[in-house]
């Protein structure tokens, strides 16, 4: 079988790549997709630990993470559509209305 730390390392790699997307990209759609990547890397960790310690709670938490992600994407894409309609921009740098 595959050692546990291989799965954790895959999770770490995907998490760092997703964080790079969130921090470095300026396109709001790519930032959202990188957020999906972050949540998926956490799901890999949940399921790997659940499998290696023979506990169902890992899978149950992964199911809840997926449900919350679906809700988050629906609201975020609604915000993106409203943003494009009102300000016609896709760059996160142009949306600084709430900056103090």
């Amino acid at each position: 079988m595959v050692p546990l730390w291989w799965h954790i390392s895959l999770g770490v790699a995907l998490f760092v790549i997703g964080a790079a997307g969130v921090l470095l990209r300026r396109n709001i759609l790519v930032v959202l997709m990188s957020l999906e990547l972050l949540l998926n890397s956490v799901n890999i960790n949940f399921i790997a630990f659940g499998r290696y310690y023979a506990d169902f709670r890992g899978q149950i938490f992964a199911i809840f993470v997926i449900a919350i992600t679906a809700a988050e994407v629906a609201v975020a894409l609604g915000i993106v559509v409203a943003l494009v309609r009102n300000k016609s921009t896709l760059k996160v740098d142009d949306v600084t209305v709430m900056k103090g």
Partner: protein, 166 residues
């Protein structure tokens, strides 16, 4: 055998994840993300979580990515393709990312909690039946809360995306 498959899926997942971040065109990012989710669901199959693998394909590849592509189709991304990719002055973010990755890898590799090579034996019997019994008995309240959150997100998305009627 398992190790070879895991390495294959992990390598393709990391490469497609890099394409997601590096691609200029958001459509290419979305397609690469779809491929990455398929690899991750294959990893779930290797972890003997077939229900999660199927849910991953249904929800992520089937619903979320189609929603992304639909929004990309609705709005004009030609300007986004032309815009500067990875603008300069990101040194603090890069340093932070390298530190984060190095820290996590050092902690994982130096700890002996992650050195398990054989998964603990799952009790025999129908695993999905046991999983759903746990979900609907011990975790019934979080399940109901999740359904309320989904309903709230549905209403919120409709209100946000609606045209202002005046």
């Amino acid at each position: 055998m398992d190790q070879g498959f895991f390495l294959l899926f992990a390598a393709v997942a990391v490469i497609t994840a890099l394409i997601v971040v590096l691609a200029r065109n958001p459509v290419h990012s979305a397609l690469a993300l779809m491929a990455c989710f398929l690899q991750i669901s294959a990893v779930f199959v290797l972890l003997e979580a077939p229900l999660l693998a199927v849910v991953q394909i249904f929800v992520y590849v089937g619903a979320i990515m189609v929603l992304f592509l639909f929004v990309i189709m609705m709005i004009d991304v030609r300007e986004a393709v032309l815009q500067r990719f990875l603008p300069g002055g990101n040194l603090p973010a890069l340093v932070l990312l390298v530190l984060l990755g190095a820290e996590m890898l050092v902690l994982v590799l130096s700890s002996d909690r992650f050195s398990a090579t054989e998964p603990a034996a799952m009790g025999g019997g129908d695993q999905i039946r046991e999983l759903s019994t746990t979900l609907f008995a011990d975790y019934l309240l979080p399940f109901e809360v999740a359904s309320v959150i989904l309903l709230a997100a549905l209403v919120g998305a409709i209100v946000l995306a609606r045209k202002e009627s005046g």
